[in-house]
């Protein structure tokens, strides 16, 4: 059956955070439900739809930004009490809007995630997790990295309370009381957790997770160990998952999976006979989908997917057909409704415009006086700067509540700005005088009307570090711009991982000196991405990293007064050495740096690069041949006379070209890294081999693995 959903916009509130919209339970099956939503201005709005008009049930006064909104109530009764987390406070409302709870948690940080189950309240701030029962503190846990979401397996179905934390370091932490029972590694930084089918599935232990790099998975959390059920890899390179819900929208009796992503994608997965998810429907909206839930809002009897977006739109994707076949009269009525709505909006606009004009004049007048100040209107920017594992590049996503006028990108390190197909903005690179003004990149993006979201792709070079700044100017009056800064770290292409291959030959860099644990931690934070800013608990810590481009690894182990870094890639060690000594000198700390170089590691790294290089060279060669072969094909009519290799290229032509397009400058980057490897190898020996680099490039041009290794050995 084809799923055909039509979009209907209901209402716009302020900017919303992740998981801040819910549908109140319906009085009967398929009756219309009320929507509750909390926004950044602190307002909770509850409304229902009547004849295509949004009718408010209640609306609270503005306050602190609402980070989460959940429904609760006595277990096994309809969950219709509304709970919101704002700042460090939890407030509760009845479905009529009467406040019955105001609970100040006394957490030092503001609450980021919340889960409610009966009288149990599970909260998490950035690093802290707290469990309250009837508002009394029960358990506490300090996490090693940021907590993105918290959930508890259904207590009514299981004999125990099992909270699960989704942490930024790609781990789900399963708790028991205040202690971690075990950790589950997931393929990306998890951003959202939900119970499978809304109740934990057949076992009551099934947990769905979504990651910030767009992956989804199902894990069964048994008391002793996790069981991975399935995983959806993000093949289409869609955005990160922000919200997940289970609802039978297809109407086959099995609950489907509704997914909202930060690039505006809404997806519906249904389950096949083997209980594997299959994509059934997707629709792209123009901005982040912050919450999603299945239900019935617009018209009773018609199921729909209700979602809220970053800028506060509540939108339904409904099964109700747009054009009914009941007769011309009906359609006319629908149009009439629309017309009324439009004229209503228009008159409202006129009124507003008049008011704005008055205010604008006042503002202009104030600019005459010398004492008056002019403030900049603040607007919120939703930004995300992440490393993509697949092509070892960074993506920067900027989202603003109103349309963006232009964005200025400035960088004081050499980086490449790549084109993103989805963007419609006109990019223009400006010349920059790098010596005097520290500019290596100046580019403007002039956005088309109604663009609220901009995605950029950036390629960095390891060893070159600095700051990338984005000046975002939206289309609001008075015109202002906000600057956002993003650090390009020295080892920018590394990614945290939890297990590494300990058998590789490694080079070791050891630091000793009079420095504290916090100091050495701050250096590691400075050098490497994905390390929590707060020094972890304990006296000594070990982090593992993987180079996303070359698959080499790095182990860092440090404590007060000592730090040990091990990597099979000599360039990584070289970069660390340079940066650390520079940092230490800056802070006037006396540092002893010693290193141990393993000659075998160079050969090992070259062998790691070999398959990638060979693949790229072959690909480039094949792509070069495609056009000529196609011409032959046109001329001769068939390809029987060609050798199988060429025939194969012709058959795969489209695929090859796509592959080639996907990784621009891949070969150049590999060459650069081999050159670095070469220079670094000899740098540690104290010889400068820069003069031999042209020779190396010559060898690379006619690549042969043995010749390359021989060259490395001989020089």
């Amino acid at each position: 059956m084809d799923l055909n959903l039509n979009r209907a916009d209901y209402l716009q509130v302020g900017v919303t955070s992740q998981k801040t919209m819910k549908l109140l339970p319906a009085s009967r099956h398929r009756a219309t439900q009320k929507v509750v939503i909390g926004d950044h201005s602190g307002v909770v709005t509850c409304f229902g739809m009547k004849k295509g008009e949004a009718v408010a049930v209640f609306k609270t006064l503005p306050g602190q930004k609402i980070a989460r909104l959940e429904l609760g109530g006595v277990l096994n009764t309809p969950q219709e009490k509304i709970f919101i987390a704002a700042g460090s406070e939890i407030r509760g409302f009845t479905k009529r809007g009467k406040q019955f709870l105001s609970f100040e948690t006394n957490l030092t940080e503001s609450i980021k995630a919340m889960h409610i189950s009966g009288s149990d309240l599970f909260l998490s701030a950035s690093y802290i997790y707290n469990h309250y029962c009837d508002c009394k503190d029960q358990h506490y846990y300090l996490s090693g990295d940021k907590i993105n979401d918290v959930i508890c397996l259904p207590v009514e179905r299981l004999p125990r309370i099992t909270p699960v934390l989704a942490c930024q370091d790609r781990v789900l932490r399963v708790l028991q009381g205040s202690d971690v029972v075990y950790e589950v590694e997931v393929p990306g930084p998890p951003t959202v957790l939900t119970l499978h089918n809304g109740n934990g599935g057949d076992s009551g232990e099934d947990l769905l997770f979504g990651t910030s790099d767009g992956k989804l998975g199902l894990i069964q959390i048994t008391p002793s160990k996790p069981i991975h059920k399935w995983e959806i890899r993000n093949e289409k390179k869609r955005g990160g998952v922000l919200c997940v819900d289970s609802f039978d929208i297809v109407g086959d009796g099995v609950k489907d999976l509704l997914v909202g992503r930060d690039d505006g994608m809404v997806e519906v997965y249904s389950f096949d006979n083997a209980n594997e998810p299959v994509l059934r429907f997707d629709q792209a909206l123009s901005e982040s989908v912050t919450s999603v839930q299945g239900g019935c809002v617009g018209k009773d009897g018609y199921d729909e997917i209700v979602l809220s977006t970053y800028s506060g739109w509540v939108t339904g994707l409904t099964t109700e057909p747009v054009h009914k076949e009941s007769g011309p009269g009906e359609e006319l009525k629908i149009n009439q409704d629309m017309q009324n709505k439009i004229s209503c909006l228009r008159s409202e606009l006129e009124h507003l415009q008049y008011k704005v004009l008055q205010e604008r004049e006042k503002y202009q007048q104030s600019s005459q006086s010398s004492k008056a100040k002019s403030t900049v209107p603040s607007f919120s920017i939703n930004d995300k700067f992440t490393l993509n594992k697949d092509d070892a590049s960074y993506s920067l996503i900027l989202e603003v509540q109103t349309a963006i006028d232009n964005v200025l990108i400035q960088s004081d390190v050499p980086i490449d700005l790549l084109d993103v197909d989805k963007n419609s903005a006109v990019v223009s690179f400006s010349s920059c005088d790098s010596e005097s003004n520290d500019n290596f990149l100046l580019a403007t993006y002039r956005c088309q009307a109604n663009t609220t979201r901009l995605e950029l792709k950036i390629r960095s070079i390891e060893g070159q570090y600095g700051t990338l700044q984005a000046y975002v100017t939206p289309r609001i009056q008075p015109k202002t711009c906000q600057v956002r800064q993003y650090l390009i770290k020295p080892l920018s292409l590394h990614q945290r991982t939890h297990c590494i291959d300990h058998d590789r030959p490694v080079n070791t860099l050891t630091l000793t000196g009079q420095f504290s644990f916090a100091e050495v931690h701050s250096w590691v934070v400075f050098c490497l991405p994905e390390v929590p800013e707060k020094p972890p608990a304990g006296e000594c810590v070990t982090f593992y990293f993987q180079n996303t481009f070359l698959d080499t690894q790095l182990e860092s182990n440090y404590r007060k007064g000592e730090g040990v870094f091990k990597s099979d890639n000599i360039s990584t060690i070289s970069i660390l050495k340079d940066v650390l000594s520079k940092e230490a000198t800056k802070r006037k700390i006396n540092l002893n740096i010693s290193y141990e170089i393993n000659e075998v590691s160079v050969k090992h790294t070259l062998k790691l690069i070999h398959p990638k290089l060979e693949y790229q060279l072959l690909l480039a060669k094949k792509v070069q041949l495609i056009d000529a072969l196609k011409e032959l094909q046109v001329h001769e009519g068939n390809t029987n006379f060609l050798i199988p290799e060429y025939r194969c290229i012709l058959e795969e032509a489209d695929h090859l070209q796509e592959e080639y397009k996907k990784q621009p400058a891949h070969l150049e980057r590999l060459y650069g890294m081999i050159t670095d490897l070469f220079i670094d190898k000899f740098k540690f020996k104290g010889t400068n081999v820069k003069t031999k680099v042209p020779l190396l490039l010559e060898i690379l041009d006619s690549y042969d693995q043995n010749a390359l290794i021989a060259f490395f050995d001989a020089a």
Partner: protein
């Protein structure tokens, strides 16, 4: 939602912009398009059984209903249409860099095959002005040429630069078609037969032009801009990061008015309203669009819009019916309108909120450091801008300079200048490092051409520690001759070249013109006529003298003929002069031109000699091959080997000869371009009728190879003494 009525996937690539639909047998519309390896394919889905058996056309081995036409040269333009009205069916016209072929597909014969020295970059077929027979007009190297069905060139004129696009359109509404020419110097020129009636300057190379209806026409630039002009006024334009490959006018929503259909390099096709540029329909292909044409391809009496992608995918769309009028997209208009209005409302609310916040902040304490970080600045902060000429120093070349400063202690964090045509991209950014922040900024600007430019400035103003900045937006105009600095006259360096003309304007008006078009220092005081001013070019240090006598006689001394032309055109437009005869002398330039003319002759004779050589060699090859094969049959292996060795050597000679010919040809093209440009430049020194007279007379002089006459015309403006 409009869906394609047919989709075809041909296994031939299609070269961009080279697609045409024609009824080559008078009834069945067939699609002709240039493909790889110097071939043209003709897709004929209607008469499957018909086979061409001649040498030029052969059946495509890949597809049964496609035949291939071998051109043996890279095709540079292609069109189809009625060239000979007596034939009653369409002719296919194929242009390459050296030739133009008019081909009768039905009878498989050439109507004509002409050598065109200036190349054929683009072609248009139709009736121009009062010329009775249809012309195939090709645009090449600064030249335009029109041929009738017998291959006679009935039309020839020159234009400013390489021609990239042509269209026929009734520009002035007199019922006759004028020729629109888009060229590499960013100009769209309108030719009423061989007289230029209008010129519009765009910001990039004009890649496509298409007539819409009446005097309205669409255009596309190489930087991704498309838009619509009505006569000389631009209705709208939009810019995309993709490139418009092909544009076409077609009434897709059946409202009686054509929309502008654009095929983009990313595979998108969109239809935009001719009035507003609003998108009323769009669709996506998997690869770049090669061409957008129209034709009754299904032979059911309805004309479809046909879009072709470079990979050979072809989709046809029928115009929407009256019911779906204005609603070709899948979302309903009302929904969109509501969304748009709500967004507007939200923006207004936000603005209102901003003013409220501002009012609140005003009540609080006086400005302090914390305010600075939030981006609070004194409300009376003003921004001053000034344009001046900077003569440069050792480290920096001379340039025009834009100085921006704030009126108090606030700093300028960055300046964005959006302007077209003077920077590499569309914008220039100045972003000082944190240590160099101050309340004023000097920005060097060096426009490469003498055109007036609007500078749209966005200045980010705040304090050192701010994370939010105020954006001051303002627009300044950079005058046309901003790259010339006023200097004191130095008669020793006065250029020998000059133009001389008389205008009926009083001196103060000329002074106003000077002020508008040059960056004069503020204290400049120009006394009454007669006076003279002297400028130095910041680009090459060349001198420019403008002298005006009491009688209204103006003399402009400069060695730069383009500059002289620009000054005359600028004066003419600001004083509304319709006709202006000018006496001119550019000894240095004319001497160069004389050399070029000599060279052209040399290259021509060289070309003929080389062609003769080639013919000789090909005869030799034939005989060598026969002799070698004879030897093989006689089993005289030694002789055969020798013969083949000779053949090999000869082949090498031929390849060398070919290379020489190629070089010769490019040189020739370059020189021909220089000649064409010289005529154009001589024309630009005059205005109105004298201008056209000069161009026509120069052309005649070149045809009759009368060099002295040519220079005479360039000097005095007429052929007769």
């Amino acid at each position: 939602m409009l869906l394609p009525v047919f989709t075809l996937k041909l296994r031939h690539k299609i070269s961009p912009r080279m697609v045409a639909v024609g009824r080559y047998d008078g009834t069945h519309p067939c699609l002709a398009a240039a493909t790889q390896a110097g071939k043209v394919f003709i897709h004929n889905p209607h008469t499957r059984s018909q086979h061409f058996s001649a040498s030029r056309v052969f059946q495509s081995p890949l597809e049964s209903d496609v035949s291939l036409l071998n051109i043996n040269q890279a095709v540079s333009c292609l069109t189809a249409g009625v060239l000979n009205p007596q034939l009653g069916y369409d002719t296919l016209l194929v242009g390459t860099q050296t030739n133009l072929l008019a081909y009768d597909v039905y009878n498989n014969s050439d109507l004509f095959y002409r050598e065109v020295a200036d190349g054929a970059n683009t072609i248009v077929l139709g009736i121009l002005g009062d010329i009775s027979s249809p012309l195939a007009i090709i645009g090449g190297n600064c030249a335009l040429q029109g041929f009738d069905h017998e291959g006679n060139d009935l039309f020839w004129t020159v234009t400013g630069d390489n021609v990239h696009s042509l269209a026929l359109c009734d520009f002035d509404g007199d019922g006759k078609k004028e020729l629109l020419v888009g060229s590499e110097d960013f100009d769209i020129r309108v030719f009423k037969e061989d007289e230029i009636v209008a010129e519009m300057t765009e910001t990039e190379i004009i890649t496509s032009l298409c007539p819409m209806y009446g005097s309205r026409f669409g255009y596309a630039l190489s930087n991704g801009t498309v838009g619509v002009y009505d006569k000389t006024a631009r209705y709208w334009r939009i810019k995309s990061k993709n490139h418009a490959m092909s544009i076409h006018a077609f009434d897709l929503n059946s409202d009686g008015v054509c929309e502008l259909i654009t095929g983009w390099s990313n595979g998108k096709v969109d239809a935009r309203s001719d009035r507003t540029g609003e998108v009323i329909f769009k669709d996506n292909f998997s690869s770049a669009i090669a061409g957008v044409v129209e034709g009754d391809y299904r032979m059911d009496g309805h004309v479809e819009l046909i879009c072709c992608s470079v990979d050979g995918e072809i989709r046809g769309y029928l115009p929407g019916t009256a019911e779906t009028r204005g609603n070709l997209m899948d979302t309903s208009i009302e929904q969109d309108l509501i969304r748009e209005l709500s967004q507007k409302k939200q923006n207004l609310l936000l603005e209102l909120h901003n003013y409220e916040e501002n009012a609140k902040a005003e009540l609080s304490s006086p400005p302090n450091e914390a305010d600075g970080q939030r981006g609070v600045i004194p409300a009376n902060t003003k921004l001053h801008t000034a344009l001046s000429v900077n003569l440069g120093n050792e480290t920096q070349d001379a340039h025009a300079e834009l100085c921006i400063s704030t009126s108090n202690d606030t700093i300028i964090r960055a300046v964005l200048i959006f302007a077209e045509g003077i920077f590499l991209g569309e914008s220039h950014v100045v972003h000082p490092s944190v240590h160099n922040l101050s309340s004023s900024i000097r920005i060097p600007i060096t426009p490469p051409k003498d055109v007036p430019v609007d500078l749209h400035l966005k200045t980010f103003v705040g304090y050192r520690s701010s994370t939010q900045f105020h954006v001051f937006e303002l627009t300044r105009q950079l005058p046309r001759f901003s790259m010339y600095a006023l200097t004191s006259p130095d008669s020793a360096r006065e250029p020998l070249s000059y133009v001389n003309f008389v205008i009926a304007e009083r001196a103060p008006r000329v002074v106003i013109w000077l002020n508008q078009n040059f960056l004069l220092p503020e204290d400049t005081n120009i006394q009454n006529a007669p006076f003279q001013v002297c400028f130095t070019s910041l680009r090459n240090g060349g001198q420019l003298y403008i002298k005006i006598k009491l009688s209204g006689e103006i003399t402009v001394n400069t060695d730069d003929i383009d500059l002289a032309g620009d000054i005359i055109q600028s004066m003419a437009s600001s004083f509304a002069i319709e006709d202006l005869q000018v006496e001119a002398d550019f000894p240095i330039y004319f001497e160069e031109l004389r050399k070029v003319l000599v060279k052209v002759d040399e290259y021509h004779s060289m070309h003929q000699k080389l062609s003769a050589d080639m013919a000789d060699n090909s005869n030799l090859i034939r005989s060598l091959l026969v002799r070698a094969e004879d030897a093989r049959l006689m089993r005289d292996m030694k002789t055969m080997k020798n013969r083949y060795m000779e053949l090999y050597d000869l082949n090498k000679d031929l390849i060398n000869g070919y290379k020489i010919r190629c070089n010769n040809h490019t040189e020739l093209l370059g020189n021909l371009k220089a000649v064409n440009q010289a005529i154009q430049r001589a024309g630009r020194l005059r205005v109105g009728k004298p201008k056209n007279q000069v161009i026509t007379a120069c052309r005649d002089a070149i045809r009759s190879n009368n060099t002295n006459m040519l220079f005479r015309i360039m000097r005095v403006g007429t052929a007769s003494s």
